[in-house]
Symmetry: D2
Subunit: 365 residues, 4 copies
């Protein structure tokens, strides 16, 4: 597919730039062909400092968590107070803040400028699509309604919870081809999903499984139904299959593993299911952050493993394995997936979404 790159780079601001999610934006956008980071914003604690100062701790250590440091130009940018950002100065806003902050800040920015967000605040609002590029692009049609209803020139586009992403990506082709009646998912999630503030202590993760992640199961269940729902006028009608989840934390750094057992509406062989899955994502060709396909199906029964498979396609591919018929459920199918929670499920995923909006003419320089 021939994708027109923007004639000049779009000017981006990253809000929440000092946290680990914000740093992932800085990393992913380091040499992006379409977006250029021209400004950073953070809390009042960071405002007025250079970025390097802002991430330097009292003991002199630099709290940078993502491999190589950003370019010197970024390190020397003065961090703005996120509450005082003039979003109109930028073509695009990337936000990586907590949900409460997002609820306050994102409307301010969206008044003038498109906002791509990793926060949960607006995910379940009626006029907000919950988008995964290549999965439910048609939901972009809701943006006009959102703008009109809220009187915004821009809009807010959140990405789903990182645990939802792998599940929704793998369900989509099955839903389209065979329909779904029931989905039962158990996750074994990486510790990086909990971030650094309030993150998982070694005291809890060593030689252990933590069987509960507050609010996670409800999010995954509702988000999945919304993502696979259909746009009807100015609203999304959630997909009507049942989704029930159990979410666990295990001692893995990155990469959420999920076991899935499901009941299709119409029978399908394993080969048909594999074929449906492997096709997903071809519509994204040409977008800089897009992998060749969104799903890779592994035939080795010992795969996927989070450490071996999370980085496939630079962390943008969901790896499926153990795809097999389930003799118990009606039209039953089972598989295990690994999805990179801090790539496709975070900043890189939000960037891919912004790229899709560029292609669709929804993001203009």
């Amino acid at each position: 597919m021939n994708v027109n790159a923007p004639s000049k780079k779009l000017r981006a601001i990253v809000v929440g730039a000092t946290g680990i999610a914000g740093q992932q934006f800085l990393t992913h956008l380091r040499a992006h062909p379409w977006f250029e980071i021209v400004a950073l914003a953070g809390s009042s604690r960071s405002a007025g400092k250079t970025y390097l100062e802002a991430i330097t701790q009292p003991n002199g250590n630099v709290a940078w968590f993502c491999g190589d440091l950003p370019a010197r130009a970024v390190l020397e940018m003065t961090v703005q107070n996120s509450a005082a950002v003039n979003a109109a100065d930028y073509d695009v806003v990337f936000t990586a803040v907590e949900s409460d902050a997002a609820r306050e800040l994102e409307p301010l920015y969206a008044a003038t400028t498109p906002v791509f967000s990793t926060a949960a605040a607006f995910r379940m609002e009626t006029d907000v699509p919950l988008l995964i590029p290549g999965v439910n692009d048609a939901h972009l049609g809701l943006i006009e309604a959102q703008r009109k209803a809220r009187g915004w020139k821009g809009y807010v586009l959140p990405i789903p919870n990182c645990t939802t992403t792998g599940l929704a990506v793998t369900l989509k082709p099955l839903w389209d081809a065979f329909g779904l009646d029931l989905v039962v998912m158990t996750s074994m999630q990486a510790v990086s999903g909990a971030g650094r503030n309030g993150g998982v202590l070694s005291l809890d993760s060593i030689d252990n499984v933590i069987p509960y992640i507050p609010k996670e199961e409800e999010k995954v269940q509702r988000e999945t139904q919304k993502i696979l729902g259909s746009l009807s006028g100015a609203a999304i009608v959630p997909a009507d299959f049942g989704v029930t989840c159990t979410c666990n934390r295990v001692g893995v750094l990155d990469g959420h593993t999920e076991t899935v057992v499901l009941s299709l509406s119409r029978p399908a062989t394993v080969d048909e299911a594999r074929a449906a899955m492997t096709g997903l994502g071809s519509s994204l060709a040409g977008l800089p952050s897009a992998p060749e396909r969104l799903i890779f199906v592994h035939d080795d029964p010992f795969r996927p493993q989070p450490r071996l498979d999370r980085d496939r396609g630079a962390g943008m591919v969901t790896t499926v394995g153990r795809l097999r018929a389930d003799p118990v459920l009606k039209n039953g199918l089972k598989y295990t997936l690994v999805s990179h929670n801090t790539r496709m499920g975070a900043a890189a995923g939000a960037t891919l979404l912004a790229e899709l909006c560029v292609r669709e003419g929804l993001l203009l320089g």
Copy 2:
């Protein structure tokens, strides 16, 4: 309950004594009030050596894996060749050998003597009950048929796979009280289940999940249905609800964690389900290895955790947590369990089974 201890200690031999499962028998039986280890057997490689010699490696290290060493008398016993054991010399045989060896050896022993086994070899034989004390004691009725069919004076009683045990224990009270239509289970199993020979390498478990354990899912599915089945004449009719499992290995030392989603035949509240579960096991009172109850239901949503809960009741209690209604399945219920795979799921569980047989008059000195 008043349990009559045997008038004198029963004479026991442990076969497969040098392996990790055998060592667990030696540990559990160290100061047992009813059983006394009077002999040990192993492979031809160990035969003729003292036990201490047999577990001493070429480099001089003693390959003992279970905390404190056994009593000196045990260390100095001469290990017999398991193929040449005269089982008639003993009141009871405990076997901890691989499945292939069990298939050959256990019939030799059972010709004269009751055999309690951790091996899989005979679990699915028609005339062999698959017993968990307190769960399906009535299946002991099958022993007469087994003796008759095989012309044995003794019998073979295997315990289930360690992953089956926690599941069957927790399903039993629900099955009895409300019926079951469907059970979906995902396990996160400890590495100790894989033993030391062919065990899980650190290279595979660090920062990782292994999504496949060969043959495990099939075993758990069939064994669960057999355990909860009903004795009808000289056979067990498997329970007719569907069981579908996905078995994973995680970086946990001991204690299998399992998430369970199920559909009851008749509606039950969470309180009713909890009440049913907490009653299980009272019939075992007085047996030396029996815990007060077989199930403990935790109200803290962050429990059960394998490291914190595996040792409850000396590893004989299955801990259940996150017991909640499932809004998706019909009469849906969800929970997470932790069961100690190398206690209740191994030697200690087999010993409890032998204790039950003592009480039922099936094991005589």
Copy 3:
């Protein structure tokens, strides 16, 4: 040895009772024959609540980290504000607070009452002995000077840093028997030493070593020299051998492992060194928290391992292994030790110290 138990139990208050170190006091003192917890104190945040309320988190979970809960009587005690404790009401004060708080609070308590502390605040004060029972009991002679200098009826007795303890325990018999010229130590410390506030994140410990623990090396070096120093009038003259440490954090729950290379002043064979080590601690016989001996020397070269050896003697024994001559240093000796950082190195160690003071007539009901 015949130790006279106090005629009635001594009345103890635990300050800092809600933190993990305080909880370890509650656990260790649960059924103590000489001490009885009659009061608890905490920060202003906890003051006025029952203990159970104070450790209950906003989401309803009970933040209790140490196995079985304390007795109901303790759970229902009202937590005092640590700044308002009237220490005169108690026979003994156990403090488990941060160093800054200890510097303010402990003098208030010591004005009337003996204080046993896990905090670093007073460890290096000239008139404060740094005691490990069985190692440098003679330093108790400094208490009179402390009382006089500070005008206190009570006194402050801190225990050493948990990394110092194992090192000092194992050096003591060598120092006494052969003298020491140089000690080089590298630690591989457990994550529990970092506590729960500001503890080690899984993101940092999985598949990793953290090569730095701020201020730890300096503490260990100076404390070791003080503990092995000699009491001279109203001061301790530090031992004059060189100690150089490197402290690392590894992904271990409990138990600090330390490799030691040292140069003795006088030559000693490995057997002589072993004999010296194994004798230590016999003077503690009869103290409730004392192990039979303070050091166990393992002959298996694969020991000590923190998981297998940390609990020896209920965590009060330091396990030494790989004891061997070093051909490079003059009169060189090498070994590896494991010491339980949250038992002997924390509350249980402080309790043992209080027991010693009872025996020595320094703690009266």
Copy 4:
């Protein structure tokens, strides 16, 4: 520096190709500009099969441990029996076999062809240099003596033990600039160093440290002295400073961490030591596997960490941190290093050595 690439690619055979070390050769040589894999050899078990067949397990899984599979041409090569290889057919032999096999096989190959080996067999032979490129290149002068003494047209060049490499690399510039009197090293080694056969079990590594690696300490001590020794006629005079090591295994996948305390012969400031270290390796410019410099000195005291630093320079750079004066030893210096044990310490290191030989005219097409 201007390095002349060979006019055509050198024809290489990898012996021991199916093991994990052999696979690392295949990975590192995948697109090498100077060497081309034209043949593979393995044990009699693999001989005659295609490589893909040889690494396929009975259950159908492909035992490939190193990320992306090799090129199809390699997968389809027929594996030769290593005992029947005609080395004269190749320009260079890379061996990745156990020490016993190496002792038999490598002389057969060296009769005609240069052999670069990861095995220990010949490391301590008088006429065999133990080379680390950029560290002791002058020892190449020993090759003529080796050829003459053994009547070989080729030669054997082993690389050091992976634990020696990081230590010798960092000591070299200090030795040259300031002299060394004493080196005390404690290692915390990754599990990958133990390979897959007889590798470290999860049962041993979880929540644990293993304090002993048989024969490792002796190897590191002697190899370090040899590498830093001086070539004198047809022999290497070992460096005469003392080296004493303690080697531990920790739960880290890749990357050996080593703490070093040493005594210099002449005083040096930390800045002088850093300057000496950072210069090492410039002579390797132009060699395809050479990093820009061999040592990177980190100023963050929390570094190096194996997970964060092992991959620096594609795993060819040794990262040093915590460089500081030691006040106890005479002219004392301390630091911590991380070295990638399966890159610079294995196949990639052996390849770099072969590249050096190309440049020095010792390897001709």
